[in-house]
């Protein structure tokens, strides 16, 4: 007669098996610590419990989530950057930065490596998309007056990102070592050397030669060659991406610390009553307090008012970001399937391309450089960059922050500035195409005169005059900034289009490439 014994404690072996079976589930649980994000609390922990997501605020303002607030341009830029990063690493498997094999390795990537052509195309298209979205993102921040206090410094960081983005694109241009690359970089390096235009005229070059130094640092030699290729490669795959990553981190962090996106002061009235039930703020608040320092600074989104007009970032913000991301990927891949990245003949230092054109976003500058390398390639861009950087420190008002074309003047001023900007650029271009410039009229004219008086400086001066007039008319720095920014954007578009589509051999004007002379 046996009595059934009470169930004994599991043996060590049984416990081991149970734990082994549970291991996958536990790994998943410990990796994502908060569980399924289905309540407001778990949606919060989903974000701040994850190192990759915690840069986001737990809740996002409804104003920020409207398409018209940002058009998703910042996220699109990041998406394009990630695409170039991934495809760039893949290209590095085969690319060789030496003058005797670089061209051949690109050819291999294009014609031999499996999917190599698609990867290269995506890399090239994503780089172009990134340049476009970065410029448009800057325009969005400008037109919604988002650069104002407390976001002044982030505007400067953004300008740094623009410069690094253009630098990445420019350095990548040399790597295929074809004719396009060689002559674009030769022109670029000589623009870097163009301060000599002034030092030569003043007879200073022997003692003070910043232009020569810039070219020497860029090329490591006096012509584009092996040294230049390895330098551009180093800049392209290491130095500039690291700089971009560092600036990008600061940029994101500041967006968060400066209180999210810029919003109008009366944002709650503008949005009206939330359609979803309001959030029970103080009973089920996420189990995280804002840092004391942040509260003292008074810049976090929820300080000083209830988060009634906010929604959980998971899912609302993340799904929007994911949507923009996927759209950017779709655009880049579609463009890559539709059009191949160019690859011309092997670089030949003795025969320049005719016409030799820089990347498209520099063709506006090349249009100006066709009169004075120093004025068009260095002075005007420097004026534009310094002017852009000063905007947040000159416009100190807070009228119209967060609204498109906000501030004195508004949309009517922007509309008129578009007309003025396009008009001046087209008129000056039409004039020089029809009548030429100083040297055609006075053959012996000193170069220094042309360096000071040329289409680039004339356009800049006229834009500046229009802007000053608007400052006085509206007695507002914002009105002047709206006028000037709009004008320069229009000038950039006009010059870029003329440089891209209407310039042919010897930089002559042609209505169509079909009219180019045969040679």
């Amino acid at each position: 007669m046996s009595v059934k014994e009470p169930p004994s404690a599991p043996t060590a072996l049984q416990e081991f098996v149970t734990n082994l079976k549970a291991a996958p589930r536990r790994i998943a649980e410990t990796a994502v610590r908060s569980g399924t994000p289905d309540t407001d609390r778990t949606r919060s922990t989903f974000i701040f419990g994850n190192v990759f997501l915690h840069l986001h605020a737990v809740r996002t303002h409804r104003w920020t989530l409207r398409w018209a607030a940002t058009l998703g341009l910042g996220i699109a830029s990041v998406a394009a950057f990630l695409l170039t990063l991934i495809t760039g690493v893949l290209l590095m498997f085969y690319y060789k930065p030496y003058t005797d094999v670089a061209y051949q390795s690109i050819k291999d990537i294009h014609f031999v490596v499996p999917t190599g052509r698609l990867i290269r195309n995506i890399h090239r298209w994503a780089a172009n998309v990134m340049v476009v979205t970065v410029i448009l993102h800057m325009a969005r921040a400008f037109y919604t007056a988002a650069y104002r206090k407390p976001r002044e410094f982030n505007w400067l960081i953004g300008m740094g990102l623009l410069v690094v983005t253009l630098g990445l694109s420019f350095t990548g241009y040399l790597l295929p070592w074809d004719q396009l690359a060689y002559w674009a970089i030769t022109i670029g390096a000589n623009i870097a050397q163009s301060p000599r235009e002034v030092t030569d005229a003043l007879g200073l070059t022997d003692v003070f030669d910043p232009g020569g130094l810039q070219k020497l640092l860029l090329l490591g030699s006096d012509a584009v060659g092996a040294e230049a290729l390895i330098r551009f490669y180093l800049l392209h795959v290491m130095i500039l991406p690291l700089a971009l990553a560092a600036l990008l981190s600061v940029h994101f962090w500041r967006v968060r610390k400066d209180g999210g996106l810029a919003k109008p002061a009366d944002v709650d009235q503008r949005l009206g009553t939330p359609t979803v039930p309001t959030y029970p703020v103080f009973t089920m608040a996420p189990n995280k307090t804002y840092q004391l320092a942040a509260i003292v600074r008074g810049r976090t989104p929820a300080v000083g008012r209830g988060p009634e007009n906010t929604v959980p970032s998971m899912p609302h913000l993340f799904y929007a970001e994911l949507g923009v991301f996927m759209l950017t990927v779709l655009v880049c891949v579609a463009l890559s399937v539709w059009s191949d990245a160019p690859l011309k003949e092997l670089a030949n230092p003795l025969v320049p391309e005719n016409p030799a054109k820089a990347p498209w976003y520099f063709l506006g500058l090349q249009e100006l450089v066709a009169f004075s390398a120093f004025a068009g390639g260095i002075v005007v861009p420097s004026i534009v960059l310094i002017g852009l950087g000063l905007i947040p420190y000159l416009d100190r008002s807070d009228v119209g922050t967060g609204l498109w074309c906000g501030g004195p003047g508004g949309w009517p001023l922007v509309r008129r500035s578009i007309a003025v900007g396009l008009g001046i650029a087209l008129a000056v271009e039409a004039f020089i195409i029809r009548f030429g410039w100083l040297r055609e009229w006075i053959p012996g004219i000193p170069q220094l005169v042309i360096t000071v008086v040329n289409p680039g400086t004339v356009i800049t001066l006229l834009y500046g005059a229009w802007s000053v007039w608007m400052v006085r008319r509206f007695s507002s720095a914002r009105a002047g900034a709206l006028a000037l920014f709009t004008c320069f954007l229009c000038g950039f578009v006009v010059l870029t289009i003329i440089g891209t589509y209407f310039r042919g051999p010897n930089w002559g004007f042609y209505w169509s490439p079909a009219d180019w002379p045969k040679h």
Binding site: D200, G225, P355, V369, T451
Partner: protein, 161 residues
């Protein structure tokens, strides 16, 4: 802020003895100085002391049939050589604007990049070029000529053939 001789210093008062400041400031300025000079030193690396470009001097034999006013461009060089009754001279074909290679045309040179034009003596006649094309040093080496792309001579200098 004044201090009573025997007052117990409050924690909020500034520290009266700056000895720690000395150590702290020494550390700070040493670090700042080291950073500055190491950055300057690192900047020195990319400024090449010796250029890797091939020798700028080369020797060339002019074809006997070279007519006056017609350019002879030695293969692989950006130099145009001319021969007339007064002698031989060499003009650089690197555009002074942005470094493209100019084409010798009848009675001058033309740049394909931005439309600069030069006359037969290399003087700018049109376009954005800021300077004339330099004349290069030529030495008669007994039937052949040595051209130095790194040395310029005043325009008009010719070497007897």
């Amino acid at each position: 802020m004044t201090h009573e001789p025997n007052a117990i210093p409050s924690r909020l008062d500034p520290e009266r003895v700056p000895r720690r400041d000395l150590l702290g400031l020494t550390a700070l300025w040493t670090a700042a100085g080291t950073l500055f000079f190491s950055v300057v030193g690192m900047m020195r690396i990319p400024k090449a002391a010796v250029l890797s470009s091939p020798s700028k001097k080369f020797r060339v034999a002019l074809p006997d049939t070279l007519a006056p006013g017609v350019a002879y461009v030695p293969p692989g060089r950006s130099v145009a050589l001319f021969k007339d009754e007064k002698g031989v001279h060499a003009i650089s074909t690197i555009c002074t604007h942005l470094g493209c290679i100019v084409r010798p045309e009848t009675a001058g040179f033309e740049c394909p990049c931005h439309g600069s034009r030069y006359d037969a003596a290399g003087v700018v006649t049109k376009g954005p070029a800021p300077k004339s094309l330099p004349w290069l040093k030529v030495v008669n080496a007994g039937g052949q000529f040595t051209v130095d792309e790194g040395a310029t001579v005043p325009p008009g200098t010719k070497v007897s053939a």
